[in-house]
Point group: C2
């Protein structure tokens, strides 16, 4: 069978690279680990960003912008934070270049007194601003978000999944009470869960990270975990309860009702361009990307089949009528996004370009359609019937009326397909290590899902031992899902009474 | 008279700082020259960005994202570019921190082989991508834009106007012919002019920069120049025709119809957060900021006058009815932006906060209004009648019907006021240097407009002499306006026949 990609999902890592390249999503840049996000990939980011931004604002948060550079001394203030991040930061040491002996280089006379770190995350610099903004309990809660680029040096970069520079949003909030800050942490986790399911059509499990996987400096970290088509987990978003750690380090205090000074309780939470990698590995197939209509930069693409003949004008006029009718509609609460592809390349090439890019609905209009007044379209979510490409046709007016529900149906179909995969590949009932070994036995490209097992929630060195044991099989604890039973099997690791169920799997 | 600010425009520099601070727009950060943009200031940026983004996309450009870091060797490729930018760049030299003798510092073992520069602008790194993307004439024109942060080290920073890090958009395009690239350069200049006038209500003069003020590496640079309330010019946007300079340095070539290889002609163009400084200095008054409704994060702010009494509930219900009626309306093609200010501070304090922040319409609702069903409102563009604050009242339904045209009228009034100032303060007819000296004589805080004079368009050392002469009076050539007469007076500087009229003034 002729496929639109040169590699199938059987070689999953190669397939991923091929989709990113052939769907025009992104490419490597001359700067190690930093990517160029191309128009189609950036278009996905814009859609995703706009919808998440609406939700962030609707829950009372305001956007700000904080400096890219963080003084080294700020990072040094929070000990655990240093430990967790100090190993992978870009450091600015000079503020001028100079031509010395015919070679452009950092000017020794322009060495900074204190080096600056390119933000890997902004708890410290935002905390510093909070310390000025919060004076009284009347200033609380302080609910802030920023959309920004961040840098964490990556030795083994992968486009979207792990890049030295990436784009994200980071929410930062300060509260008068621990209870309120914990509530915020959970509300943001739920915001991410609903966003992943409803907008990205990407099912996730929300839950708490084990102690050893916490954000450096956090009291508790929660995540949403998605299952990719190779069975591996992708941590797709995190929400942290920071207690008073950062408030102490950055001196964020408020005057309470009684006139006394108290430390704030803070939170932070973020999702990044990594989500795009998750969308690719959740929905892509052997013909390329399949985009959920809610985030597709173009939901319907109209390809006119032109032959440099007189009837071309009629075909174009028909296409333009279709496009303007569709553009007047609403889908997912926003104007429907439709494109007339008039690029001067062959229409067959256009079809396959849009298949690879994952446009949800591809319409092809030739002289025969114009004559009959019909619209011939393909659904990207169910492109083929056996080996053959499947298309349907209906009168133009009917198609226009049908388009919004067609897009909603594609969104729902992609979601249901991914949800079935997630639900069907979390195995419960394994109670001993031999069961773990047998479940995860086999080659690297064999599909493995996750195990859901009971444990005694060990900590410290006892947890380290669990971690080491898991790492030997390339496994990690993903999270402890929010929905827990009322009674538990014995701990698979310690044999002690179980107190929680956790998910175990391989991960990106 | 009681003013909402502690300083008037008579001390313009101090006044500017007071507005930025008291309108909650931005503040200095611990990182020298980098600012924190606060929610109200960032809200203005978001409005401005969304509307400009719509215009950029409507003219066929697509958004992308390119790396923050640029290899030093890229910068070194374009000689003039090096000359113009090499003096003010942040340089990353290490990719890890290490605790050495108890002090966190750049890890000597993690020194980069080639230093990375934090982008001051992206011609070189985007040109590198273009060299991969452009193969044939069918790939042209390539019309790309990015929204990003950039860094140019500033020794004398001023919030919004001149900061080490700032936010901007940079458009980059490649074309098959010089004519098409020049047309693009002019179309983007016109896009900026229309945007400044229609959206920011900030009148500008579009024109070409003299040779010595060109972007490093450009063949020609055009700008829009706005006049601030102290008479100084603010360069508010630039559009560059780059010829084949960057195409040569980055090897951007295409195969033409005949199969031969040709260099592309490229352009670049940008506006930045500096525009916000321009809005402040164009529209602010002695009570603070006055925001054009088209970019105000909240166009109507409703302040309930609560007294901790039973009638509070009625007041709030009335306010909510008003707010939901207004939120259902459209203004400037977007949903009307209205806020009910329920913060727990005194209503008088709220009023003055919103006056300082420049909310276009401020509504105050007390028990008396609720009883009569009336809405009492203030227009921020014409806040006072003599010394007194002016307010009007009308029935709720009438006010709701009236609100969109009220906002349009405020937008038009601010624009007309600023346009009159610009038009009335460009003096023509000065033909000798003594006239220049006399026009610009007086103290630093005296209002000076601009002169419009004829010149012979000298270049090289002859232009340098003009530049030196002007600099002695702190003057620069702003631009040569697009609309030029057909005949010219003799050159004010050289005495030769005039060929062009230029604007001369002091500038930010």
């Amino acid at each position: 069978m002729q496929r639109a990609l040169s590699v199938t999902r059987e070689r999953f890592a190669d397939w991923y690279q091929a989709v990113v390249r052939d769907a025009d999503m992104a490419e490597s840049s001359p700067v190690r680990g930093a990517m160029v996000i191309k128009p189609w990939g950036y278009g996905v980011w814009e859609q995703l960003q706009q919808e998440l931004d609406r939700r962030i604002k609707a829950s009372g948060h305001e956007n700000c912008y904080f400096p890219l550079f963080i003084p080294l001394s700020f990072i040094a203030k929070e000990a655990e934070h240093v430990e967790g991040f100090a190993k992978e930061m870009a450091v600015v040491t000079h503020h001028r270049l100079k031509n010395i002996d015919g070679k452009l280089q950092p000017d020794p006379a322009a060495k900074l007194e204190e080096p600056l770190v390119v933000r890997p995350t902004s708890e410290t610099i935002i905390g510093d601003a909070f310390s000025r903004w919060v004076k009284s309990h009347r200033d609380l809660p302080l609910l802030i978000n920023q959309w920004a680029n961040v840098v964490r040096w990556e030795m083994r970069p992968r486009l979207f999944l792990r890049t030295t520079e990436f784009l994200w949003q980071e929410g930062h909030t300060a509260h008068a009470s621990e209870a309120e800050a914990r509530e915020e942490t959970m509300a943001c986790l739920e915001m991410y869960r609903a966003f992943a399911e409803e907008v990205l059509a990407m099912p996730v499990i929300a839950g708490e990270k084990p102690e050893n996987e916490r954000f450096p400096g956090a009291v508790g970290t929660w995540s949403i975990e998605a299952m990719m088509q190779d069975g591996k987990a992708l941590q797709a978003g995190t929400s942290h309860f920071l207690g008073t750690h950062f408030a102490e380090a950055q001196n964020i205090r408020f005057q309470n009702d009684a006139g006394g000074m108290e430390l704030c309780h803070t939170t932070s939470w973020g999702v990044s361009t990594r989500l795009i990698g998750g969308v690719i590995m959740t929905h892509g197939d052997d013909d390329g990307l399949r985009l959920p209509p809610a985030i597709a930069p173009r939901q319907v693409v109209v390809v006119p089949m032109l032959r440099d003949k007189p009837e071309d004008a009629e075909v174009l006029a028909f296409c333009q009528k279709l496009v303007s009718s569709l553009a007047a509609l609403t889908a997912f609460g926003q104007p429907l996004r439709v494109l007339l592809d008039t690029k001067k390349i062959k229409s067959a090439e256009k079809r396959w370009n849009w298949v690879r890019r994952g446009a949800p609905v591809i319409v092809e209009i030739g002289p025969r359609d114009t004559a009959s007044g019909a619209v011939t379209y393909m659904r990207r979510d169910s492109l083929r019937d056996g080996d053959k490409v499947k298309s349907s046709a209906m009168p133009l007016e009917e198609f226009v009326g049908f388009a919004p529900s067609l897009l909603a149906d594609i969104q729902a179909t992609l979601h249901a397909e991914a949800r079935a995969r997630l639900a069907g590949n979390i195995k419960a009932g394994v109670t001993d290590w031999a069961g773990v070994e047998s479940y995860f036995a086999g080659g690297d490209d064999d599909f493995k899902g996750w195990l859901r097992v009971a444990w005694s929630k060990p900590s410290g060195t006892e947890l380290d031992a669990v971690d080491t044991k898991l790492k030997a099989l390339k496994l990690t604890i993903r999270n402890a899902p929010m929905d827990q039973p009322t009674s538990f099997a014995a701990c698979l690791f310690t044999g002690k009474p179980g107190v929680q169920e956790i998910l175990i799997g391989r991960a990106y």
